[in-house]
């Protein structure tokens, strides 16, 4: 890495914005890895569309974080010049694409949370966040529908697609608990009405998935040990590799534009 990483002054609001932005950027980047490689042209476009929605959400949130932080950092700095321990995304979204079933299940587990989350955030006392939420909510509603329809078909499809979908659910389930965590910094914002408490969405999230799993003839795993740490920068080994690719150009040719 040729370029030094930026320092970020993480006030509770900046930290909150980076967490949500990093979720969107990292998942968007993961989906972009399918571009040109998806099982069929139609899905290549669908996954790329979702990636672009997510990267757009990330940009809005980074931009707002930059103005809140007021230290001269910008969206490009947040994306390209922070190392893995400075990233605040959920461990779920950095997990590798695997096969198509795993990508769909990862998307579903996230979107089934993000969709009601952004809808609730449209009532945020922070006008900028409420506006970002209003835009994101429509996008995430489609992401959820897209993943849900595929889950039903994979689960209730062939023996192989069923087995792959079930394996993906079992593999990724331990990464879902982190979505509902709120630490001290975030609870401060929840009390101010800036953020909504993710805990309150857990039951609805589970119900969404249970209904879908039944239609897909899949079994939802039991809640057991849940992985966490992404929100405070303790990531799985996968994020570093992802960032190596994402940041390569800006690290090698700082400030390059075209």
């Amino acid at each position: 890495m040729a370029t030094t990483s930026i320092r970020v002054r993480e006030t509770p609001l900046v930290l909150y914005l980076l967490r949500r932005a990093d979720d969107a950027l990292v998942l968007g980047h993961r989906l972009s890895e399918w571009c040109g490689h998806a099982p069929m042209l139609e899905e290549d476009m669908a996954l790329s569309n979702i990636a672009l929605d997510l990267i757009g959400q990330a940009r809005s949130l980074y931009e707002y974080a930059a103005s809140c932080e007021g230290e001269g950092n910008d969206e490009n700095g947040y994306a390209y010049l922070r190392d893995a321990p400075q990233y605040r995304n959920l461990l779920l979204v950095e997990q590798p694409n695997g096969d198509f079933a795993r990508t769909i299940v990862r998307q579903l587990l996230y979107s089934a949370f993000a969709d009601p989350y952004w809808r609730a955030m449209t009532g945020s006392s922070d006008a900028t966040l409420a506006a970002v939420a209003a835009k994101s909510e429509k996008e995430s509603a489609y992401h959820l529908r897209h993943a849900a329809e595929w889950l039903i078909r994979l689960g209730d499809g062939t023996e192989e697609s069923h087995a792959r979908a079930q394996a993906a659910l079992d593999l990724l389930w331990p990464y879902t608990g982190e979505q509902f965590e709120a630490d001290v910094a975030e609870r401060e914002l929840i009390e101010l009405g800036v953020a909504v408490n993710p805990k309150g969405l857990r039951q609805g999230w589970h119900q969404t998935l249970a209904t879908l799993a039944e239609r897909a003839t899949l079994v939802l795993p039991q809640d057991g040990w849940m992985q966490h740490g992404g929100r405070s920068g303790r990531h799985s080994e996968h994020l570093g590799h992802l960032l190596t690719e994402l940041q390569h150009l800006q690290r090698t040719y700082p400030g390059a534009t075209w």
């Binding site: 069929m40 139609e42 476009m45």
Partner: protein, 95 residues
């Protein structure tokens, strides 16, 4: 990337209220719901759509290109069928 053995669907999009759905292309999808989703993802990325129809391609009965002369050429000499002898008032708007 290979083209899977999924059925072919024709996509029709209505771009504005008051206009008719127009054929924009075709796609492969396993069933009608996925075809509708794929149509949204392939053909409405630049704000083209208000409404989407998808139709199984094999539900369309098409004329035979070899019948072109029989079907279409006889109309060429009947220009009186074109409503070109009327002035359309501006208030009518889009027709």
């Amino acid at each position: 990337m290979t083209t899977p053995a999924f059925p072919l669907w024709e996509v029709l999009i209505r771009s504005r209220n008051g206009l008719a759905h127009r054929h924009v292309g075709s796609l492969h999808a396993a069933d009608a719901v996925l075809a509708l989703q794929a149509a949204r993802d392939l053909f409405t990325r630049r704000g083209e759509g208000q409404s989407i129809w998808v139709v199984p391609s094999n539900a369309i009965t098409a004329s035979d290109p070899q019948d072109k002369a029989m079907l279409f050429e006889p109309t060429a000499s009947k220009i009186y069928r074109h409503p070109t002898f009327y002035e359309v008032p501006d208030e009518v708007g889009h027709m």
